[in-house]
């Protein structure tokens, strides 16, 4: 729970199948939460800034961000969010297939809050998403007033 309402996840993922897998795993867990999904970096930024079609969208409590995105990629989205004083408080969890050191280092340099690598194993994938949800929804203590 976050400020009296269920935690809202924003999934930024261009691959529909991956998005389905993540979202179904998020739903399967017993803790209540809500989510949205966008497929491009441009949509992600529009969403967090509540621009255009996202004017009334729920502000995300945690962002799950893929790195490999067309046009504006995940690193750029991350950098933009963390550079924006109104958005930098939103925890960003990088969720990608890339285990390349260069990507990990760059993500943390851009102030990512966590870096997760998608496992090539369904059970592990599910377990990881389930733990992720528990971590942010149960154990993590967010600030009372969103930064």
């Amino acid at each position: 729970m976050f400020n009296g309402r269920p935690l809202h996840f924003l999934l930024v993922e261009d691959d529909d199948d991956h998005a389905d897998l993540v979202l179904s795993s998020l739903q399967d867990a017993r803790v209540l939460n809500t989510f949205s999904r966008v497929a491009t970096g441009m949509d992600a930024l529009a969403y967090v800034r509540a621009e255009g079609v996202y004017a009334t969208a729920t502000r995300p409590d945690v962002i799950l961000l893929d790195l490999k995105l067309p046009m504006i990629d995940g690193h750029e989205v991350l950098a933009t969010i963390k550079a924006d004083p109104k958005l930098c408080g939103i925890p960003v969890v990088v969720l990608t297939t890339s285990a390349a050191e260069v990507d990990v280092v760059r993500a943390y340099q851009l102030n990512a809050n966590s870096y997760l690598c998608k496992p090539v194993d369904f059970e592990k994938f599910q377990a990881m998403i389930s733990d992720l949800k528990l971590y942010w929804c149960v154990w993590n203590v967010p600030p009372l007033i969103a930064a």
Partner: protein, 591 residues
């Protein structure tokens, strides 16, 4: 008079011979007048001989019998003759022998030089003082001469009592009796030992000098031979110039490197073989070094008369004379062309290798990500399918199978394209004359249905230039660009694709594929050629196509780039070096 002449002829002095002419008339007067003169001594000698010839010597012999250490006294009746004899004693070594050669008289000088007392000598013959220096024939000749009643002149080496030798200039005058047979011999000698020694030393020195000169000449010849052999065989150019830089010597290698002959270089300066681009700098530095006698080192190019350019290192070192003044310069010329070529090859290879490494890194990075992604999908969908089947949920089975299908197709396409991409860099097909207009027409024919269904117009500019290239790869290049234009560039109101060319640059052949779609933002214009880089999530694609296009252009020595403004379409340019351009007129001419 005969004897006098002989005596005086020893000195070969015309003056004396002239003086002799007057002897017969008034000897005493003449002698008296000339006593103080330089020739006095010779006149004395003349007189003595004359006296001896007329029996004065008998008195001398008698006097020797007194066995005094000093010279026998001159009888009073001799008068002036006694004085002259004293003078003779002072100057010459004097001896008288009988007809058999037995010494009957010697003066003090004889004793002094030979080291024998008069007693030891008188009664002996001259063998006593024979040094053994002369051969027997020498004395045989001497005796033959004097026994024939002739005067003998010569130089004799004698041995003193103490064993040392001495040289005497000797004149032996025979005194003949009534039958003209020699009855006595008068020998007058002067010590010439020092002169002989000096002569000997001089001879010795001359011999030594000659041998030294010969040895030095031989050394110089050997040294010169060595230098010549070295100069001819060293793989370095060698030259000598005067202080103004004018060549006075060049070796064969110098000629080989500069492509000039010795005849062309002699007497000329550097300008003749300098590359125009290096000329000013070279000559300025060279002038300074010549003026100040400094070492010169310069890397530059030379141009041979046939136009061949060589990279060389030129060195000059001043050679100074004893006073420290620069006499001339010695220079070397090292051909660096091969080294420089190797260096530039190495640099290029390094750059290539660096590029390949970066490509490989990028490739591995992209592949590891982009091939892993469908795998994640696979296991995910399979897991979901398994779960659905376990709970008897059947409504999603077809959906899951469809996803698996699509994923496997996508994966296969990606792998095919990656293999293709890697092949482009390694395998270059045979070059043919390719007409890109024809390739576009073939594409239009193959995609006629799609083009007409989507109402897309595809036009090709007339006069598209021909190039020499791998036809298959070039077809692949245009296919990719045209496919992209259809997929991404024909979503707007203007559904048109234009293919054209630009020949305004003399160094390049440029083609373009233009669409009027949404365009590509500037910041992504370079990124689109990256492996697995995609700009759209709505249109199917692997993100390999433009990488392939770029690689094909590169293996033909060219490049691709895009010009676009968001909302105003995109123009993809393919640029090839003019070298692969096929000039139709030239081709026809050749045919």
């Amino acid at each position: 008079m005969f004897i006098f002449s002989l005596l005086f002829n020893v000195d070969r002095s015309p003056t004396l011979v002239t003086s002799l002419a007057s002897v017969g008339d008034g000897v005493h007067d003449v002698l008296g007048r000339t006593l103080a003169s330089n020739e006095a001594l010779l006149h004395v000698l003349m007189w003595i001989i004359m006296g001896l010839a007329t029996g004065v010597a008998v008195g001398f012999v008698a006097m020797t019998r007194r066995r005094k250490m000093g010279n026998p006294e001159v009888p009073n009746d001799l008068g002036t003759a006694g004085l002259y004899k004293s003078a003779l004693d002072e100057h010459a070594i004097f001896a008288v022998t009988d007809a058999r050669g037995v010494i009957v008289y010697v003066n003090d000088k004889f004793c002094q030089i030979s080291g024998y007392s008069r007693d030891e000598v008188v009664g002996k013959d001259h063998r006593l003082i024979n040094s053994g220096h002369h051969p027997k024939s020498f004395f045989a000749d001497l005796y033959r001469t004097i026994h024939a009643g002739k005067v003998w002149h010569g130089q004799i080496c004698n041995r003193a009592k103490d064993g040392s030798t001495y040289w005497v200039q000797t004149t032996i005058v025979p005194q003949t009796d009534g039958q003209r047979r020699p009855s006595r011999f008068i020998a007058i000698r002067s010590d010439i030992t020092q002169q002989k020694q000096a002569e000997h030393a001089l001879q010795q020195a001359t011999v030594e000098l000659r041998s030294h000169v010969a040895a030095r000449s031989a050394e110089v010849a050997v040294s010169e031979q060595r230098f010549q052999a070295l100069a001819d065989s060293v793989p370095v150019g060698i030259c000598m110039t005067d202080t103004a830089g004018e060549f006075s010597f060049v070796n064969p290698m110098w000629c080989q490197t500069t492509g000039m002959t010795q005849a062309m270089l002699m007497g000329t300066q550097w300008q003749t073989s300098l590359h125009p681009s290096d000329s000013v700098e070279f000559l300025t530095l060279h002038k300074v070094c010549c003026q100040h006698g400094r070492d010169f080192l310069f890397h530059h190019r030379t141009v041979a008369p046939d136009g061949r350019v060589a990279w060389v290192e030129t060195r000059f070192v001043p050679v100074r004379d004893a006073t420290g003044t620069v006499a001339h310069f010695v220079g070397t010329l090292t051909d660096l062309t091969a080294i420089r070529n190797a260096e530039s090859d190495l640099t290029r290879l390094n750059v290539d290798l660096g590029n390949k490494n970066r490509e490989m890194e990028q490739f591995v990075y992209s592949v590891s990500h982009d091939l892993k992604s469908p795998l994640v999908t696979f296991v995910g969908i399979l897991g979901r399918l398994r779960g659905d089947l376990a709970v008897g949920r059947t409504d999603r089975i077809m959906d899951s199978l469809g996803r698996l299908d699509r994923t496997s197709i996508r994966m296969r396409t990606t792998i095919d394209e990656l293999v293709d991409l890697s092949r482009i860099g390694r395998v270059v097909g045979e070059s043919h004359v390719v007409d890109p207009a024809r390739l576009v027409e073939e594409f239009a024919k193959d995609h006629a249905e799609h083009l007409s269904a989507e109402m897309i117009t595809l036009t090709v500019a007339p006069d598209m230039p021909l190039i020499r290239a791998d036809r298959g790869r070039l077809a692949q290049l245009f296919d990719n660009l045209l496919n992209n234009a259809m997929k991404f560039g024909c979503s707007g109101a203007r559904r048109e694709i234009q293919v054209g060319c630009d020949m305004s640059d003399v160094s390049a052949v440029r083609y373009f594929v233009r669409d009027f779609g949404p365009g590509i933002p500037i910041k992504y214009q370079e990124k689109v050629f990256g492996l697995f880089q995609r700009l759209s999530t709505t249109v199917e694609g692997t993100g390999v196509g433009l990488s392939i296009v770029q690689r094909i252009a590169q293996v033909h020595g060219g490049r691709v780039f895009v010009q676009s403004q968001e909302g105003h379409g995109a123009t993809f340019w393919i640029e090839f070096p003019i070298a692969i351009h096929v000039d139709c007129a030239v081709e026809q001419l050749a045919a």
